[in-house]
Amino acid sequence: MLTYFVLTPIVIAVFLYLFSSNKTSRIIAIVLQAVFTGFAVYLLLQTRQLGEVITFVGNYEGLLGVVLRADMMAAAFVLLTTVLFLVVSIYSLHEDNSKLFWLLMFIWEGILIGIFLSRDFFNVFVLAEVATVVVAVLIMYDKGKRSMFDGLVFLMANTVAIQFYLFGIGYIYFLTGVLDMQVAAAFIANLDREVLILPYALLMTAIAFKAAIIPLYSWLPKVQGIPRAPSAVAALLSGLHVKSAIYLFIRFQDVFAPVASTEFFLIIGLITAVVGVIMAVSQVDIKLLLAYSSTAQVGLIIAGLSIGDAYSYIGSLYHMINHALFKVALFLIAGVLEDMYGTRDMRKINGIFKKDKYIGIAIVLAILGITGAPLFNGNVSKYFIMSGADTVVNTVMILINLGTILVSIRFAAMLFGQADESFVGKKTAKSSDISIYFLGVLCFVGGIFGEEIMSFLFNVHFQMSFYGFIEKLIILTASWIVGLLVYRYVLRGDRNYKIFRRIRAIDLNFRGICFSIGAFFVVILAVVGFLY
């Protein structure tokens, strides 16, 4: 059954490419997509009932073939993928994209579902490579000079990183004799710790690159900031593509439990979050701001997963889903704004409320979600992430949230002020509005029914304590006040600080990226090998 979850979008994609590209066929595709979402819900219900749905591709018993497994986490992410692709394809309905765009989008969907369901080391490699190429072509869609260069750097750097992964697969096969993650984990549990250091370091280097963790994050803003790249692609890139890498991170940490270094990734995650926030605050480009902000959130998720507490772990999983929802919403809004104002410079976009009330309300919903306001989904997940942390980590996380609030205030500042009449471009299409609203409402629902959704998706029953909720509320209010004060007296106006311009100018070239991949590898090897 699971095989068809992966193959169906791909077959739909090729059919769409072959037979027509007019609007009717797109609507048919969207209807099929909606049906497909229904099947994903069915899969989730099945996994709730059975615990795990397993497909042996080709019915080869033993471990001779590829094995696909869907547990609750995988099914939840499959559902997330289908929902987000449904939303994004509704959003892009009005855009005049060629059939190539739709081909690649649906292939991308199939591949991402494949990554979530696959439990085979090599199969993940193949899927990751296809996904990389699909993303590279999608971001170079307009073939502008900037996008061509950045796309080249993205593709080549990804290829370098994935070679480390292939090296790691070689050692895993050498040591265990299998490629299935679950069985390999059973073998690995009986092996010496000494022999596992190298494969672990190799795999983690590639995963860290894909997940955009600190020294290796530079490709994410680079490709998301490409001018005229479709907003839908930028949205799904940080909403889902990066999430698939974090998903693999979770799986590999489980497989390599004897050597897995949680402290290292806790520290790295926190550093990533802090750096991401600092970078985000200093941006003036609306999409770059969102890109660095998602780096920060990735850092937060990685840190939460590495705390080693059940509450933080589940909270991080829920935060992955939440972050996907509001970040996709924000990116789609950014795309709408780019169309409306003809620019991505936040200093030139003002008075959204006066121009388009509905978009303004959608922005408010998404921002409330990302800052973790009460009644919104970010609140629930951040509450659980922080509830397992000790004092130091908690303080850092509060600071990170303060930074997120600052970023959001910068974003929200576009809502007010006097709209410049000369900048009003085309009106937004109804389909875009619908899709953005849908996401905004999901953020709200995810907050109100947060505990119920968590128990539904991950089969855990966590309760937020009232006392803790009030404490978080006080901290959040204080953070908002501090954020507003900082914004009013430090960031307000068009003050273009020199340090911000410096930070904006930071840019790794290809050689630098390769160097940082190597450096990350050496550091993780040294940490795992010598420090423990």
Binding site: F125, M148, M156, L166, R344
Partner: protein, 119 residues
């Protein structure tokens, strides 16, 4: 000695050295090919013994030293994937070459990012 294991590692890091230092885009691509080939030789060489036989023929279970067929099937896939990626890389490079008449990383970067400094 596990020659078949250590030599590919050395070649791999030679490729990394090339990637870290090369100024020419085409040279970077060549180094990437070096990397890919090194990994493939490495994986096939993990179970290397002298006089190893290919896994082709009838009643293989009676032959003393047969090569493991699984890595071979996987590496064919890896080769094809590497080729597909390299082809796209070259498309982009040719596109850049036609625009700028240059294959220098820094020159191409300077030319492709001009007018985009402060946006």
């Amino acid at each position: 000695m596990r020659m078949m294991e250590i030599v590919p590692i050395v070649v791999f890091f030679m490729g990394m050295f090339g990637l870290m230092t090369s100024k020419n885009i085409i040279k970077s691509i060549a180094c990437l090919v070096l990397l890919e080939m090194a990994v493939i030789v490495f994986i096939l060489g993990l179970a290397f013994r002298t006089g190893i036989l290919p896994p082709v023929g009838q009643s293989l279970e009676n032959v003393y030293s047969v090569a493991d067929p699984l890595p071979q099937a996987l590496m064919i896939t890896a080769i094809i994937i590497g080729l597909a990626v390299t082809a796209i890389d070259f498309t982009m490079i040719i596109n850049l070459v036609r625009r700028y008449k240059s294959t220098d990383w820094d020159e191409v970067k300077a030319m492709s990012t001009e007018n985009f400094d402060e946006c």
